[in-house]
């Protein structure tokens, strides 16, 4: 049992590293790649949990994660970036160093919180829960420290990855929930894409700072 | 028993008419003293009676804009002042109807008379009436609270608000020198001057708008109405003198149960003190000049301050000042 736990812990750790990678990447392409890597790792982690804990339904989750988030969505994003001629550079609000430091603080926070909350349960999944929470927070952090609309989408979806990771640790996440979550992600992506396309059409840029300047009655 | 009751009733009635009878004499004494001190012959002592009789004989001229209030006010003012004056113990305390009004009600009765007079002043719609009424009410806002505080202080000292009770208390305990009572005396003198429109507050013989207060309010009255108002102001002066005597120099006043002899002694004592007080008033009026109207708040305010300190001391010592 210990080995199973070790491997899932390892996979969660790799996901976390991918989150960090998302934070410090300079180019959009690299960001998408890091996201793809994170999603594939997620798929592996879920599959491992399915195999080691004998929960076959999780295989479907893994497959969806791999297919949608590991392959389809990164490809779609790449295509969007090419077609729209989006800036290949990611505009930053704060420097890489600051973002990484904040990321580390968030990891500490999630660790402290999970320890506090799960005091009475000595579940093996505790560390994984902490890592999953950290991944969620880092995804959020990415949404706010990067100015590119594509990176916002990616940040949002890495939050999703963290949530799914946390959910696998919990007892029995039903398939229906996963499917509906997946569909909502798809629709969100679709909406994002449409918006990005439209915005690009009208304003020649999807830099949100630039977009914001064109908004009326700004204070 | 019935005979006793009748005697009591007559005594009370006698007091009522006594104050009425002696009021013009008191005013006459004041005027005579003032005249003599300024080296004039002066009017005879009975001039007050003669003035009222003369006014009663004259026709009353009313302004076209005067209303029923103007016509009825003098009667009410006179009646209120007369009742108030009759309630202050003069030659005897504890007469038959002494319980009807206490010190608070006395102050309020005088206030009612003043309010009616001020309203009558506003009635004709001339500027003089307005001058008189507004200044009178301004002085009243300072004098009446001072008066109220004075009577409350004395009531605390005597342990009762009944006038007869206060008088009895001060007969029984001769006026010990207490700060509260001394301050009350000073305040009451100032208030009496203010309420009776005497120098330095107001000049009863002037008709200049710069200086009038009381005279301005009654400018439009004539004939019998003016007679009543004049009588009322004389009664008011008698009331204040009587109050000062009753509270601060009550020796000679007979207790209720005294018979005819006691009452006669009280009567003589009271009359003498009344006329002495009127004479002193005359001396005072000659010695001092009238103040500007807007210095009056300071002057009457002094009374208020004295009265307030007096009552404060009375409270802080737990009511034990008499």
């Amino acid at each position: 049992m210990k080995i199973a736990y070790e491997i899932s812990h390892l996979l969660a750790g790799i996901m976390l590293v991918a989150s960090f990678a998302l934070l410090y990447q300079q180019r959009v392409g690299a960001v998408i790649n890091a996201f793809a890597a994170q999603s594939i790792t997620l798929a592996l982690a879920v599959a491992w949990a399915a195999w080691s804990e004998h929960r076959p339904d999780l295989f479907i989750t893994a497959a969806i994660a791999f297919g949608l988030k590991g392959v389809v969505i990164p490809l779609a994003l790449r295509r969007t970036v090419e077609r729209l001629g989006i800036h290949r550079e990611v505009e930053k609000v704060v420097g890489v160093g600051v973002a990484l430091v904040v990321g580390l603080a968030l990891i500490g926070l999630s660790q402290a919180l999970v320890v506090k909350v799960t005091q009475r349960t000595m579940g093996l999944g505790r560390d994984e829960l902490a890592l999953a929470l950290a991944i969620v927070l880092l995804g959020f952090l990415m949404m706010i420290v990067r100015r590119n609309a594509v990176t916002q989408v990616v940040g949002f979806m890495s939050m999703e990855n963290g949530l799914i990771l946390a959910a696998t640790g919990a007892r029995g996440m039903p398939l229906v929930v996963e499917v509906s979550v997946a569909f909502s992600v798809l629709i969100a992506l679709f909406v994002f894409a449409v918006f990005v396309f439209r915005i690009r059409e009208r304003f020649d840029t999807i830099d949100i700072e630039a977009l914001d300047r064109m908004r009326g009655d700004r204070r | 028993m019935t005979r006793d009751l009748i005697v009591q009733f007559l005594a009370q009635g006698a007091q009522m008419f006594l104050v009425l009878l002696l009021a013009p004499l008191a005013v006459g004494v004041t005027r005579r003293v003032k005249a003599r001190l300024t080296r004039r012959q002066g009017a005879p002592l009975i001039q007050g009676y003669l003035d009222i009789a003369k006014l009663l004989r004259k026709e009353s001229v009313l302004a076209e804009s005067a209303s029923w209030l103007f016509r009825t006010a003098p009667y009410l003012i006179f009646a209120l002042t007369w009742v108030a004056a009759a309630l202050v113990p003069s030659f005897a305390s504890g007469l038959m109807f002494n319980w009807a009004a206490d010190v608070v009600a006395l102050v309020a009765l005088l206030g009612a008379a003043r309010a009616l007079l001020a309203l009558a002043g506003m009635d004709v719609g001339t500027s003089f009436g307005g001058i008189g009424s507004s200044r009178e009410m301004m002085i009243a806002t300072l004098a009446e609270p001072a008066m109220m505080l004075i009577v409350l202080t004395l009531a605390i000292a005597a342990g009762t608000t009944r006038l007869a009770g206060v008088a009895d208390h001060f007969i029984a305990e001769p006026l010990a020198v207490r700060v509260s009572l001394a301050l009350s005396l000073g305040a009451l003198v100032i208030v009496a001057l203010a309420e009776n429109a005497r120098i330095p507050v107001d000049n009863p013989v002037t008709h200049l708008e710069l200086t009038m207060v009381h005279e301005a309010m009654v400018l439009e009255y004539s004939g019998r109405h003016l007679a009543l108002i004049e009588a009322a102001s004389m009664l008011k002066l008698t009331l204040y003198l009587s109050l000062l005597i009753c509270l601060f120099a009550p020796f000679g006043m007979a207790p209720a149960s005294a018979g005819l002899v006691g009452w006669t002694v009280g009567l003589v004592a009271w009359t003498a003190k009344l006329l002495l007080g009127a004479a002193l008033l005359g001396v005072w009026e000659v010695s001092i000049a009238k103040m500007r109207v807007f210095r009056l708040p300071d002057f009457v305010g002094v009374a208020f301050v004295f009265a307030f300190i007096a009552i404060l001391l009375a409270y802080l010592s737990g009511g034990d000042i008499g």
């Binding site: - | 009436g129 009410m137 004098a143 608000t161 019998r224």
Partner: protein, 667 residues
């Protein structure tokens, strides 16, 4: 309990009248007759409870899920019910005289019965939810009545301020009831009465109750809405708001401080005494300097509410120290003043409404001479003005006398701060009494006496019969209330004993059945009937003698005016001229009153100008400053509306991280 059902039916009638009036225009004219009927029924039930001393309770299964709506009519509620329904009755009778076509509108009429019903419900409520619900209903319906003339900027401003103050008041009461209910959450009054609150909680509850009820009553510094809102409403509604709604506020305070909080501590008395005295004096200083008839009356309401709070504070002080009879005197003074004030203030407001109706003017400087053009209104208003100035033998003096008697009992209080405060309060009360007389001499003299200053005043006519009947009945009540003060006090005696522990000597213990005895007949007696009799006899005797002795002829002529009669009514004193000595004496201190005169140079025939400026410091400190601070804060926070998407995300992220940190750190 059939009696309570009768009340319920009357309330339903009121609600029905309100509903009907909203739906059909024709039903508008039914509103006031129905209101009269309902007020009579409710008043009868209240009188029954007050005289017999029964306590009626009931509960309805609406409202809070655990308790429902509990209703209770005890003698305190019944007494205030008599006050309220009397006011509603007078206002409704008055409104029968309104012109159906011109004056009745769907903006006002439907809300009137709702307002009346809400006030009655506040009295009946026996749990916190019912109380607050009815209180809010009362506030909102009166607010809607204030804002009825919404095209008038004064009404809009008044209604805005009123709404803000009403919300503040209700929030304070919410805290008060929360404190009373305690952590167990027992909101019904029976549960609250059963266990007394701890001293710290009791202090907070008292403060909150003082804020909540004081703001509705007009206690300084929560008073600023009253002089704006009361005049803005239609006159019969102003009469209800000033004469009756403020009494509901007093009821709330009495209920909380005397009933729900349990045995009082001595220092509870200090805030109501001090605030009440300041309110009394300042209210009149405002009144004396104001030039609008209805606003003067509103400020005078503030003064009277201050007096009532002083009396209540004294009752608390005496009760806390165990002096039951002194507490009874003070409480009787407070309750009688509640009754008296509702009568004469309603009378004065209805009179002001009559004046407004007849002349279309509310400014004192536009009136004058109305005693000839509106003779009956003038008589009734005179009675009201004399009554409110606390002149014997009218009813205002009865409660004033009792109040002074309770002040006189002050030296027996052991606590030093109370012994220092009470004489100061006594001085302020005396000042307030004198200022009230000055104020109302000014109002009556300017508006009714003298010569008409404008065309409208000259063309005034007296008002319809219904309005005269209403005013006349109230004037008669003022006179009777003055003469029958002692019997009234003895009717209140059981109620007073319940809440103060003592009672006045019984009605017959004085020399006559009409003597009002405060402590015992050797100490203090006031006999209004005898004094009135004396004055009447003296007047009659004088009249007879004078007419026998003197020249009876009278002649009309022009005014003497020292030989310079001026035909123009402009030369007579105006309201501001009358106030000028008072402004100089008091205004320079309280309001930094300044007069500037600009005279044209000699030879120039232009007009001279007199400009008076007054600074309202209370407004600046308690309203303008916090209001400005809130607005500035809101301006800053307004930037939150215009953030970029990323900044919103930052906000969300920050909130999330902070919450997680708190969860991580706290135990």
């Amino acid at each position: 309990m059939p009696a309570l059902y009768a009340s319920g039916a009357a309330l339903a009638v009121l609600a029905g009248a309100a509903g009907l009036a909203i739906l059909t225009r024709g039903a508008l004219r039914l509103v006031y007759p129905l209101a009269i009927l309902a007020a009579l029924v409710l008043g009868a039930v209240d009188l029954h409870v007050l005289l017999t001393g029964v306590v009626l309770t009931d509960s309805l299964p609406i409202g809070l899920p655990t308790i429902g709506l509990r209703l209770r009519l005890d003698s305190l509620s019944a007494f205030f019910g008599v006050v309220i329904n009397g006011g509603v009755l007078a206002a409704s009778v008055y409104s029968l005289g309104l012109d159906h076509e011109k004056d009745l509108t769907p903006r006002v009429e439907p809300l009137f019965p709702l307002f009346a019903a809400a006030m009655n419900l506040v009295l009946l409520a026996d749990d916190a939810y019912g109380f607050l619900f009815s209180w809010e209903l009362m506030s909102l319906s009166s607010w809607a009545l204030v804002v009825a003339r919404h095209t008038d900027p004064e009404s809009r401003r008044a209604s805005h301020l009123y709404l803000v103050m009403a919300v503040i008041g209700t929030t304070a009461l919410l805290f008060a009831f929360g404190g009373l209910a305690g952590p167990a959450g027992g909101y019904s009054f029976d549960t609250i009465r059963a266990h007394a609150a701890q001293p710290a909680i009791a202090a907070l509850v008292l403060a909150a109750a003082l804020i909540g009820c004081g703001s509705k009553g007009g206690l300084i510094p929560l008073h600023a809405w009253l002089p704006l809102a009361h005049p803005a409403a239609p006159s019969h509604v102003s009469a209800l708001m000033s004469g009756v709604m403020t009494k509901v506020a007093i009821y709330g305070f009495v209920r909380i401080a005397f009933d729900l909080l349990g045995p009082p501590a001595w220092w509870w008395a200090l805030p109501p005494i001090v605030l009440g005295a300041i309110t009394a004096v300042l209210g009149l200083l405002y009144a004396v300097l104001d030039r609008d008839l209805k606003r003067v009356l509103a400020y005078s309401t503030i003064e009277n509410v201050g007096l009532i709070f002083v009396a209540l504070g004294l009752a608390l002080a005496f009760r806390a120290n165990g002096f039951a009879q002194a507490a009874a005197v003070a409480l009787t003074a407070a309750l009688l003043h509640v009754l008296n004030h509702s009568w004469f203030k309603s009378l004065l407001f209805l009179g002001a409404g009559a004046v407004l109706h007849a002349t279309g003017r509310r400014d004192l400087d536009g009136l004058g001479g109305l005693i000839r053009t509106m003779p009956r209104t003038a008589i009734f208003f005179l009675v009201g003005a004399l009554a409110i100035s606390a002149l014997p033998p009218l009813n205002g003096f009865v409660s004033e006398w009792l109040l002074f008697q309770s002040v006189l009992a002050g030296p027996m209080l052991p606590q030093a701060s109370l012994r220092f405060a009470v004489p100061a309060i006594g001085a302020m009360l005396a000042l307030a009494a004198a200022l009230a007389a000055a104020c109302f001499v000014r109002v009556y003299g300017t508006a009714f006496l003298g010569r008409p200053r404008t065309v409208e005043a000259a063309r005034a006519h007296d008002v319809p019969l219904a309005q005269q009947v209403a005013m006349g009945a109230l004037a008669l009540l003022c006179i009777l209330g003055g003469l029958l003060g002692a019997p009234l006090a003895s009717v209140l005696a059981p109620l007073v004993r319940t809440f103060s522990g003592g009672m006045l000597p019984a009605s017959g213990s004085g020399p006559t059945p009409f003597s009002l005895v405060a402590f015992d007949s050797a100490r203090s007696v006031y006999d209004a009937a005898v004094i009135a009799l004396f004055v009447a006899i003296a007047s009659l005797v004088t009249l007879v003698v004078v007419h026998r002795v003197s020249e009876r002829r009278t002649r009309r002529g022009p005014a003497w005016d020292c030989g310079f009669p001026d035909p123009s009514p402009v030369t007579q004193y105006t309201a501001s001229s009358f106030a000028q000595p008072l402004r100089r004496v008091y205004g320079t201190v309280a309001f930094s009153a300044r007069e500037t005169v600009t005279m044209p140079p000699p030879g120039d025939r232009g007009t001279a100008r007199l400009q008076v400026s007054l600074v309202d410091y209370l407004w600046r400190v308690f309203y303008a400053a916090p209001g400005g601070a809130v607005l500035r804060l809101a301006e800053r926070l307004n930037m939150l509306q215009f953030l970029t998407i990323r900044r919103y995300l930052v906000l969300m992220f920050a909130a999330l991280v902070i919450l997680l940190s708190i969860a991580a750190v706290t135990t």
